[in-house]
Subunit: 230 residues, 2 copies
């Protein structure tokens, strides 16, 4: 795993150098397209006609797919800078709902698919789609070839990198999703995710504050676990 170089898949790629998250102020010029969404709100459902593509400006979204028998896979978490809702054959292929109050810039599907219109925007959406493909490939390795502790540690590494606040020696970040969301994202059960958290906590690699706040105490060790060097 090459954090920062080749992106891992929390949701979209995390090539910070390339991705240009839209700031709230920057988005102001497109205000008529900026939508605010409360937790629990659904942006779209699997199978629906895809009218829009969404750029996440703030908050956190969750993309999910479900099998007939109820087994669920969290496809991605949508953080600021991510683009969600890429259509395939004119339809959405996941559900999308809001975990943390979010602001999104709404683009018509044609902004990507039509050859007319804002060329710069089209290019930006296309690059987001291409980075998404690459990031999903990384996640294949996660689901197909990594152990439970490697998956959880990788997940925490990525979040730490993307949304962690620097506490001097440590890094802290919020987990807007439940343990079962994490489990369904990583192809595990809630219990296994819990146990792995406990292990990391007992070995002082991380600390938990209020269950949904992670403090990374030993970033090196966390990365080592993520890479299977432990």
């Amino acid at each position: 795993m090459q954090l920062g170089a080749t992106a891992m898949y929390v949701t979209r790629p995390n090539d910070h150098l390339e991705r240009q998250p839209i700031s709230e102020s920057g988005a102001a010029s497109r205000m008529r397209h900026l939508h605010r969404l409360q937790p629990g709100k659904h942006l779209f459902h699997e199978g629906q006609d895809a009218r829009n593509i969404y750029e996440v400006v703030s908050g956190v979204l969750r993309l999910t797919r479900v099998l007939e028998d109820g087994r669920r896979q969290v496809i991605a978490f949508g953080y600021p800078g991510d683009v969600v809702g890429f259509p395939s054959d004119g339809r959405y292929h996941t559900d999308c709902d809001v975990l943390r109050a979010a602001a999104v810039v709404v683009h018509n599907r044609s902004a990507l698919e039509s050859n007319k219109g804002d060329a710069a925007l089209r290019t930006r959406l296309l690059q987001a789609a291409l980075r998404e493909i690459s990031a999903m490939q990384d996640h294949f390795l996660m689901l197909g070839r990594k152990s439970a502790s490697e998956r959880v540690a990788s997940f925490l590494c990525i979040l730490s990198e993307r949304v962690g606040t620097d506490l001097g020696q440590f890094t802290q970040f919020d987990l807007p999703m439940s343990r079962s969301d994490i489990a369904d994202f990583l192809g595990l059960t809630t219990e296994t995710v819990c146990r792995t958290f406990t292990q990391l906590r007992k070995s002082n690699v991380i600390a938990l504050d209020r269950v949904h706040t992670v403090i990374v105490l030993k970033p090196r060790d966390l990365l080592a676990v993520a890479e299977g060097d432990i």
Copy 2:
């Protein structure tokens, strides 16, 4: 699982109605871009500058990624009608080599990324990329939530659908990849793939002719296994 409706991920989506595989003859008009590739040949490597995007006309390609410690994931198999080599940040993110002598139409990366040039081609490549995203999401469910037998059965279902030849009551197709390729694609071990083949064979759902030729004896049952109804 909705075979044919929502595509599963052998490699790209299999919405046959939408995808338009280029026939060898149809590709003749683009002859100067048609390349023939022998088994073992590498089209590109992970990390290389991405110059081209490839449309598979015939044969079979294999896309792989490898972790530092050697663990491998087969990302996809490239069958006729598939598009491989989507760049991300200007680079390839998988290795790609040839399993069965192939013919590919080579497009410059700019055919997708530039706003100038053949608009129809650009749209075709874009749609392929979007279908790829959707198909990869399906594969997430495979890797994250399905059992070994469900994975193998799903895999065989898809191949049967995409490249099977109708034998009247049965369907037959060739497996150009090794058992360990299948294992690395499905996130399993070779042994587990073998044992699952044996199970399916012993329950007369499939028959094997020469290890690499599959005959589907009971398509309904195969689908049932794939969907976990068994």
